[in-house]
């Protein structure tokens, strides 16, 4: 009963995402036609439309819902129900929990209407600037993430006819804010590097010792992981010989071993995937890397922030989650391409049956689903692991991730030189994956002796 309901809900969600993406395409196409007719440059309209639809609608909606999902999903992971008490005071909805959705609306209202507090002796300008920096840098990263493939405007329903009537030549439309932007991955490194200013400034400008501690922790942590972050993607750059995410995405659709295995980044670069995922996590300051926040010890760099200023910090964390999911999906999980071996020709079959536009919508939906699943994975990790001690964070970044990233570059280089067809790289990558899986499966039944605490040391073991 419940399983059927949840499954139907998920299917309905997929259909909804598909429909929304189709609307995005149409909007982008239509605005492209307009600017094409006015200025002769349709890509301006496409970019403007994508900015609005992808950034302001898609990313914001997913990030907002993640604030709720964080609580609701963590509840499910911990055998709880989660928030379900807020109600919409509308007729017919008064008694419906609506999966807790009213909670995030209530949160928004609460943050917007709370007192906008500025502590005495705070640096007014920097204090105001910090949340903007944190929010903007996280937000802008999604500009280079390709959500759905390129489609000719003439293939898009309504837009094709409109373009013809307005006398605009067919132009490429894709759901990506900045397609063909050469720096690509470097853009991501650059702006996630700027994000540290938000944290550091918030800590500094608050005129609060705890906030300053949080800001210091945040900046040192982000510096530590910035290098590992960059190094972890060098392997992929070498493999696909590009920095553009959409080129990498399409590059992953080539078949290896006669089309049995798609050349996804995770198969070619499993170590790179782990490194990038971990480093990005640390960059986001999400648990288990949330020492800058550390609510149980120092409350964090935003301790003095209230209302929507705090809300910007919080939402930027979730936007970062969405962006990380999108980047990982585009770089390592084939982006918007379907998770089937290219040899099966699923995409060709879809193209012939539902047309170019239909295929694009299906692929876009596929991408959004991958993003959502990766968001879930991040939340699951957050609710699985306890916070690292701060020295452990530093030693992990400098002593483990960085050497491993350098070694990964070297090994990848050697393997690429040995076999430019990537198959050797894939074999080594699969072996690494198998090694990790096997190690996990061969978990020792018996607990290591050192984990078994002596009875008298157990909590409550000695009576008071």
């Amino acid at each position: 009963m419940r399983a059927a309901f949840i499954s139907a809900l998920i299917v309905g969600l997929c259909v909804l995402v598909g429909a929304v993406l189709a609307l995005f395409y149409i909007a982008a196409g239509a605005l492209g036609v307009v600017t094409g007719a006015l200025f002769g440059k349709p890509y301006i309209g496409v970019a403007v439309a994508n900015t609005i639809t992808l950034l302001l609608v898609m990313v914001m909606v997913i990030a907002s819902l993640l604030t709720l999902a964080e609580r609701k999903w963590s509840a499910l992971m911990q055998d709880r129900i989660g928030p379900n008490r807020a109600r919409l005071g509308l007729p017919g909805l008064r008694d419906k929990a609506l999966l807790g959705i009213p909670h995030f609306l209530a949160d928004g209202i609460k943050m917007l209407t709370k007192e906008d507090f500025v502590p005495a002796h705070a640096s007014g300008f920097l204090y105001t600037l910090a949340p903007m920096l944190a929010f903007g840098t996280a937000f802008v990263l999604f500009a280079v993430v390709p959500v759905a493939p390129v489609v000719s405007a003439s293939e898009i329903p309504l837009v094709g006819g409109l373009a013809a009537s307005m006398g605009v030549d067919p132009f490429p439309v894709s759901l990506q804010v900045a397609p063909g932007y050469d720096p690509g991955v470097l853009f991501i490194f650059a702006f996630s590097g700027v994000a540290v200013f938000g944290t550091a400034l918030a800590g500094w400008a608050s005129n609060n010792r705890l906030a300053l501690l949080g800001g210091l922790r945040g900046s040192s942590q982000m510096v530590a992981y910035e290098i590992a972050l960059g190094m972890s993607l060098v392997g992929l750059m070498m493999i696909f010989q590009t920095l553009q995410l959409e080129v990498m995405t399409d590059g992953q659709n080539q078949g290896l071993f006669g089309g049995i295995l798609p050349a996804w980044g995770i198969f070619l670069q499993p170590i790179g995937f782990l490194l990038y995922f971990t480093a990005s996590f640390a960059e986001l300051k999400r648990p288990p890397f949330d020492a800058p926040e550390g609510e149980s010890e120092i409350v964090g760099y935003f301790v003095e922030y209230s209302g929507m200023r705090f809300g910007l910090f919080m939402i930027s964390e979730f936007i970062g989650t969405v962006v990380l999911a999108g980047v990982v999906s585009a770089l390592f999980l084939g982006g918007y391409h379907l998770p089937f071996p290219p040899a099966w020709g699923v995409e060709e079959w879809l193209r012939s049956s539902v047309g170019e536009f239909g295929l694009a919508v299906v692929l876009g939906t596929n991408f959004v689903l991958k993003v959502i699943v990766l968001c879930w994975l991040q939340l699951a990790i957050r609710w699985t692991m306890p916070r690292f001690r701060f020295d452990k964070i530093q030693s992990l970044g400098w002593k483990i991730l960085l050497p491993v990233a350098l070694a990964n570059i070297a090994v990848t280089g050697v393997l690429l030189l040995a076999d430019p067809s990537l198959e050797l790289l894939a074999i080594v990558g699969l072996a690494e994956i198998l090694f990790i899986v096997g190690l996990t499966a061969l978990y020792p039944k018996k607990q290591p002796a050192s984990l078994v605490l002596p009875g008298r040391m157990m909590a409550g073991g000695t009576g008071h």
Binding site: L76, M77, D79, T384, T440, Y443, P444, P448, S450, L451
Partner: protein
């Protein structure tokens, strides 16, 4: 207690991870598996709708143990001392005869009684005012023990519901008089109509005293099935209704 040295040594031992644990990644994956298992179970698994959470079955997959309090309630154990009730007779009057035993024994002195007089009842005395201050009450149940008439009970299986004012916690007799009526064979109202001298079939001359000229009506037959009144059983519906939710 372990000595300081022992504690130090044990802490060193436990801080040493095995080689497997130091690999970290498999442990993280295993931890994720645990989290994911719970997540999927609770997402897709149905929930036992029984409000009695102690007896919920886990067979439907869902492991959520939360009790949605106002809608779902854990039943109180047998013998739970709930809010008081004044036990009514079958005719709706309280069994209470305002003897002040409960008020006398009450260690919190939360009971206040004023007595009145019936003119046409087998028991002339009854409480015109019977007030329990639930804020003062310590729920010790001594009033129930002290009552010689089984007129006050704590078998409502409710705790004191919240109120917006302190006055609201001072329960008057209208609020206390509730629940199923109780009678015993020895109760005077089952044996006589009023306080006047009754005529008894076993004693034909009973009530016909030499000086009495008033006619005496035969009393109604003895009610059946009163010898062992069943203890009150509250349905779930009644409990909910009584608790005002």
């Amino acid at each position: 207690m372990a000595s300081t040295k022992e504690i130090k040594r044990t802490a060193e031992e436990t801080s040493q991870l095995s080689w497997y644990q130091r690999l970290f990644v498999p442990e993280v994956i295993r931890g994720l598996a645990v989290t994911t298992r719970h997540f999927l179970r609770n997402l897709f698994g149905g929930r036992d709708p029984s409000p009695d959470f102690a007896y919920r079955k886990g067979s439907l997959g869902n492991q959520v143990a939360t009790l949605q309090y106002p809608e779902e309630r854990a039943p109180y154990p047998v013998g739970y001392r709930g809010t008081h009730r004044l036990v009514p007779r079958e005719d709706g009057k309280p069994r209470c005869v305002a003897c002040y035993m409960c008020a006398t024994v009450c260690p919190a002195q939360c009971i206040y009684i004023e007595a009145g007089e019936y003119e046409d009842d087998p028991i002339e005395k009854y409480p015109t005012v019977f007030v329990i201050d639930q804020l003062r009450c310590v729920v010790c149940g001594l009033c129930v023990e002290a009552c010689p008439k089984d007129a006050i009970r704590m078998d409502t299986y409710q705790h004191t519901p919240p109120e917006y004012t302190r006055e609201g916690f001072i329960y008057p007799i209208e609020r206390l008089l509730k629940g199923p009526p109780v009678s015993y064979p020895s109760d005077p109202w089952l044996r006589r109509k009023d306080s006047a001298q009754p005529q008894d079939q076993h004693f034909p001359l009973h009530g016909v005293a030499a000086h009495s000229t008033e006619p005496v009506e035969p009393r109604e037959p003895y009610p059946a099935g009163r010898n062992h009144p069943a203890p009150p059983v509250f349905t779930e519906e009644e409990v909910r209704k009584a608790s005002g939710s």
